[in-house]
């Protein structure tokens, strides 16, 4: 195809030369254009809505990305120069959001210590530590409290033993003799101060935050603490034990004088090694990657898990392919009656959600109450899911049950697509049934199903659903303290180790391991695809 740049410079108003794409021919407000306009209107409206939402929640990265996307999309669909992009853009945007962003973010987390004790940013950790260490004085009663204002300055007015006291952050509480108090004991008016009404407080979020953050010292002695309120109508005396120094980046315990300084692991640490409980996440380099290999607690069990993962994925693909192929050949024979009906029945396991089948089989394989032992093994006690080898067998069997219909479908299609003349030629050449199958049918089917086999391998390599719902990785390894088991595959092991389900979460380690698994699966698939391409060339 030759590119003719002259088209791009075709001026407005001139008749379109023949052969120009129809989308470039202006025919006024045709129905097609109106539909495009409507669709673009929806896209733009959604985009603007996201921009406004991002503005409201101050998510500048999302806002920026959305503005760029909206402008680019509008340019592409209303420009005449970007025809190929009109087809590619939606896919590219989804690729960027759902694939590239997720991968980049996983990659980023893999280099941090994000997890239990390191959940947010440093600012949030400081907030939390200050909150946790500001305590109500045990002797403090609850006061009826009013919020007062003098220009921009906010303060509190409380009633102590019948006397009104008022103060602000700069001036500690002093008596206000001329105050007026209502029956509920609440201050309603004060000289020099304006009492803020409840209605005004409730309608102004900025004022609410200011009130929540306001501390009015009880006296000139910081030891005596300060008044604070949580909901704006009662107050109590609190005292903060920790002091944050943003310039020195240190936390100081005002009672003991201990100074906690920032460590490179995202914690506040005292010289004697004690740490404050809340940390934040920081980048830790390749530590997560090396830990999986060097920590003997993980490396040996993970190696066994990796071995079983390969065995599981390969055996599953092989067994289900073979069973599916055999059934496809049998039910492809024109002599079989009711083929369509029987084929439909075969597809049923494929139509069930995998997690339901997992739970169902788990119940049926229960040694004492399950119907498998009851009906097929005369009530013998066979511990299907608690013996290491039987559990592996059970998983392979259940996955065979789940996935052979897929191969049955694929192979039936492949068989029906075999060229009849080739088959006839084989017969004329005197090849028997077995010879035809081995030398003609099988190679042709392999070519068309090999890419699917690779995809199936990659899918089963990460078949979390089956393992999680059937055995949860059990039975556990008894010779290691890692919480892993004989039927764990890599992805379920990652789920266990990372403690995402509860316990000590370690998203950094989990992300690092996911990336390793991704690289392994990717490399194997790439190699295998190269092999199948050779196979195709041979044919």
């Amino acid at each position: 195809m030759s590119v003719r740049p002259s088209h791009a410079t075709t001026g407005a108003g001139r008749p379109s030369p023949a052969g120009e794409p129809h989308s470039r021919q202006w025919r006024g407000l045709g129905i097609g254009f109106l539909i495009k306009l409507l669709l673009m209107g929806i896209v733009n409206a959604l985009g603007v809505a996201v921009v406004l939402a991002a503005w409201a929640s101050e998510s500048w990265a999302i806002l920026g990305a959305m503005v760029v996307i909206v402008v680019v999309v509008d340019w592409i669909y209303f420009s005449k120069r970007a025809l190929p992009l009109k087809y590619l853009t939606p896919g590219l945007i989804f690729l960027a959001i759902f694939q590239l962003f997720t991968m980049a973010y996983t990659g980023y987390v893999a280099f941090t210590n994000y997890g239990t004790g390191h959940a947010g940013s440093q600012t949030q950790a400081v907030d939390a530590l200050l909150i946790q260490n500001e305590r109500r004085l045990e002797t403090s009663p609850s006061f009826v409290l009013s919020i007062v204002r003098d220009g921009d300055e906010l303060g509190f007015a409380i009633v102590v033993d019948g006397a009104v006291r008022v103060g602000s952050p700069e001036s500690p509480l002093t008596e206000a003799p001329d105050a007026e108090v209502d029956q509920a004991g609440r201050v309603v008016s004060l000289p020099d101060w304006e009492v803020v009404s409840r209605a005004e407080l409730l309608s102004d979020r900025g004022l609410q935050q200011a009130v929540v953050d306001l501390r009015v010292p009880v006296s000139d002695e910081p030891e005596d603490g300060s008044i604070r309120t949580r909901e704006g109508s009662t107050g109590a005396i609190y005292r903060s034990v920790l002091e944050w120094d943003p310039d020195a980046q240190t936390m100081t315990n005002v009672d003991t004088g201990t100074v906690y300084s920032v460590t490179d692991r995202g914690r506040f640490e005292a010289p004697d090694g004690t740490q404050l409980p809340v940390g934040w996440y920081v980048t830790v380099g390749f530590e997560n990657f090396t830990r999986a290999v060097t920590d003997s607690n993980y490396s040996t069990p993970l190696l066994r898990v990796a071995g079983w993962t390969f065995a599981f994925a390969i055996l599953t693909v092989l067994s289900s392919f073979i069973l599916g192929l055999i059934l496809a050949i049998v039910y492809n024979d024109p002599r079989v009656r009711g083929r369509k009906f029987i084929r439909t029945l075969f597809i049923l396991p494929y139509a069930f959600p995998a997690f339901m089948s997992g739970l169902l089989w788990r119940g049926m394989l229960n040694p004492e109450y399950g119907i498998i032992n009851e009906f097929f093994f005369m009530d013998a006690y066979i511990p299907w899911l608690s013996d290491p080898w039987l559990a592996k067998f059970a998983i392979l069997y259940v996955n065979l049950w789940l996935s052979y219909p897929y191969w049955f479908l694929v192979c039936t299609g492949a068989l029906q697509a075999l060229p009849t003349e080739t088959m006839e030629a084989a017969r004329i050449d005197g090849a028997g049934r077995w010879r035809t199958f081995r030398s003609v049918t099988m190679p042709l089917i392999t070519v068309s199903t090999a890419p699917l086999a690779i995809a199936s391998f990659a899918f089963n390599f990460n078949n979390f659903t089956l393992i999680y719902f059937l055995t949860e990785g059990r039975p556990r390894f008894t010779d290691t303290s890692a919480p892993l088991g004989h039927t764990d595959i890599l992805i379920s092991a990652i789920y266990q180790i990372s403690g995402v389900a509860g316990g000590r979460a370690d998203y950094g380690l989990a992300s690092a391991l996911s990336i390793i698994v991704f690289i392994v699966v990717g490399a194997i698939s790439a190699l295998a695809f190269r092999q199948t391409r050779k196979l195709e060339e041979m044919n």
Partner: protein, 412 residues
């Protein structure tokens, strides 16, 4: 020229659609606020689970009418709340308030996602044990509303209402009833230390050592001879012994065996009662019998409300909890929506006349709060797995001591 028309048309169309979308939602939803209160822009987001939603919604309606703020209830699975709260509060996408269990407190505090609450003089309205449960390092982090615990549930038609004093008594009565099993308990393939904890504490082997004031240290308390005695007892009653504990019995099988009358005793919580009464079983609830001589003390869990440390509406969130949730009406509504033992004393007194509730209250009085220290999160995996292994016939002493060693290594 054509381009200009196209662009202009695009802008007009977008504007039209935008205004069409916005038209429905731009109206303030609560108009009957007090005089001068225009609060329509302020939204208080609360995470609740399906059970609690109607009760919280009732309190929220009153709150909306009086303050003019809008309450947005987001319904989530109870099991997801803990992880989601820790993950989303730091991103700014978290709620202002979430419902939760007290044993999450330690994890929330170390993640820095939770604010303290101060209920002031209203503390006297709540059971002290419930407030203690939500306290961590001397600070209160949640407003409690319900307690829950497990108890011995018995089939009245088979074994009457009398509470057996010991495990042996219970087994003897159960055997005399002539059912398939004298007693059934959930263990499952993965083990269930929670349900068996009453028996474990009767041997004097608590998960963590408690201080004199009831707070937990991070010192593992279930090692030593008492823990081994429990493990040996478990093994004797496990599948290699007389088979009363079995990994083949999971929650569903436990429910169906007891509902069918195939076992006269089980240990379960209030959530299981509905299944039994629906099946027509006449049940009585009693404290868990002792197996090792001491008091059988099950875990008591407390449910309540947490305020986010990153909330932009801290004042309204506190106002909602203290003025609208810490009231008798709201607490009663929460009880009606999900009948667990009320933490609010006045409501607890109202409902104690129900014999089933009274049975659970009696069991809770023997109980200990579930540890809320963050180390507890690491316990379940090791503990449950060891229990399942011993029940299915592993050597009790070595399995138990290995579990203790692994656990101590994991939390150190």
């Amino acid at each position: 020229m054509r381009n200009t028309i196209a662009w202009g048309a695009a802008v007009v169309a977008s504007a039209l659609i935008l205004s069409a979308c916005g038209g429905g939602t731009a109206e303030p939803t609560s108009t009957d606020a007090g005089p001068g209160v225009d609060n329509s822009g302020i939204e208080l987001t609360i995470w609740v689970d399906a059970n609690r939603e109607p009760a919280v919604a009732a309190a929220a309606q009153l709150f909306e009418a009086e303050t003019g703020a809008t309450v947005v209830l987001v319904q989530k699975n109870f099991e997801d709340l803990r992880t989601d709260f820790i993950a989303q509060v730091p991103t700014g996408e978290g709620p202002d308030i979430t419902i939760g269990a007290h044993d999450w407190t330690g994890a929330f505090v170390t993640a820095g996602v939770v604010n303290t609450v101060d209920i002031g003089d209203k503390a006297a309205d709540f059971e002290q044990v419930a407030l203690d449960a939500f306290s961590y390092d001397g600070q209160l982090y949640g407003l409690p509303y319900a307690l829950e615990t497990i108890a011995l549930i018995q089939n009245v038609d088979l074994v009457g209402t009398d509470a057996p004093a010991t495990f042996e008594d219970m087994i003897a009565t159960g055997l005399a009833a002539g059912t398939d099993r004298p007693f059934v308990i959930n263990v499952g393939a993965g083990g269930d230390g929670y349900t068996s904890y009453g028996f474990q504490t009767s041997f004097g082997a608590p998960v963590f050592v408690q201080e004199a004031d009831g707070s937990y240290t991070s010192e593992v308390g279930m090692g030593g001879p008492d823990g081994v005695a429990f493990a040996t007892w478990l093994s004797e009653n496990g599948m290699a012994g007389n088979g009363y504990f079995s990994t083949d019995v999971d929650y569903d099988i436990n429910q169906s065996l007891f509902s069918e009358g195939a076992a006269p005793y089980t240990i379960q919580g209030p959530w299981a009662i509905g299944t039994y009464t629906d099946a027509g079983v006449n049940v009585a609830v009693n404290p868990i019998p002792s197996a090792g001589g001491g008091t059988a003390a099950p875990f008591v869990g407390v449910q309540g409300f947490y305020v986010s440390s990153q909330s932009q509406n801290t004042l309204l969130a506190n106002e909602f909890l203290i003025t609208y949730i810490a009231t008798e009406e709201a607490q009663r509504a929460l009880y009606d929506a999900d009948p667990r033992i009320p933490a609010y004393i006045a409501v607890a007194e109202q409902v104690a006349s129900d014999p089933i509730v009274a049975g659970f209250i009696a069991s809770a009085q023997n109980g200990v709060p579930m540890p809320s220290i963050p180390e507890m999160g690491s316990v379940w995996d090791f503990w449950n797995a060891a229990e399942a292994a011993i029940v299915s016939g592993a050597d009790p002493e070595s399995t138990w001591l290995q579990m203790i060693a692994d656990l101590e290594a994991a939390i150190s």
